[in-house]
Symmetry: C2
Subunit: 176 residues, 2 copies
């Protein structure tokens, strides 16, 4: 699939409510579970998504759109505020608010095909396009949605007994 705004924005718009629908008011056993040491709980994933709204996607898109001489993105701190003690419903609310504002900003730019080909400089990859940045925003959402549910399922690995055999999600070594 090529990236285009009409197919990408619907995902960006839905993510906060999909995650809220899944996690809000759920017992903490579910929202604090991880896949093992150095892996993230659903709670931590939401904190990470908030940081993306604040410092990654739209700020980088602004740098590209401005087309100044210096177009290098600040590195994104993937681990920022992962240890936050803020309650999950606070985080979900903030993510929802920031994402709505950011999608409104994106829509407001009314980007054309040529705008999607404008470039910025990624600190690691070098030259990247607006189109690649926005497609990555969408994939980042989907990948963290997959992570949240993949993380929760193994909490019942013991509980399902012999059925473990039917679920790849209960067998995979997450470090691979």
């Amino acid at each position: 699939m090529d990236f285009n705004l009409d197919e990408g924005i619907p995902i960006l718009e839905r993510t906060p409510s999909v995650i809220s629908r899944l996690l809000d008011d759920l017992p903490e056993d579910w929202t604090r579970v991880t896949e093992g040491p150095d892996t993230w709980s659903p709670h931590q994933v939401v904190a990470h998504l908030i940081n993306g709204e604040r410092t990654d996607w739209i700020p980088r898109a602004r740098i590209i759109l401005k087309q100044g001489k210096y177009r290098r993105f600040d590195p994104f701190d993937r681990f920022f505020e992962l240890g936050t003690q803020r309650p999950l419903n606070d985080l979900l609310e903030e993510f929802d608010k920031l994402r709505s504002e950011n999608v409104a900003t994106l829509r407001g730019w009314n980007l054309k095909e040529l705008d999607l080909e404008l470039t910025g400089e990624h600190p690691e990859f070098g030259r990247v396009t607006m189109r690649q940045l926005l497609a990555t925003w969408v994939v980042h959402d989907l990948s963290h949605l997959a992570q949240i549910t993949r993380t929760m399922a193994p909490a019942y690995t013991e509980a399902v007994g012999p059925w473990t055999a039917y679920f790849r999600v209960l067998q995979r070594d997450v470090r691979q």
Copy 2:
């Protein structure tokens, strides 16, 4: 985590609205995408979930609860109606309806700890408990939620350009 009804039912109740929130009215490019030959699209996953509501979870729990002499479950046809031409919004509606009824049935049984230890006979595994069956129902939901989002993300593998390097979900061989 041990399985208990207070933690398991909230997941069962949420799944239809989580999936609807994600998929309803989304462009078909997203809902018909697969991970390759012999893998399922999000659309097909919903058809499969409907079949589970009709023929697997509650019907098997009824066999266990009845404690008759013959307690062998019918085999579950994982591939039933995967080729359905019914529109996705129809499927989402039916899944929501069936799941609500089934959760109401489960709640109505008001199962106690001893009921959760009652057993039935799985056609492949032999003796399984009500607790294992219900835990498997929950894991089945979470695992298909993970599958849906994991299936959608790689649609943009090309579109993200160099960012592919950051996403395990874009690199994994799904046949493993």
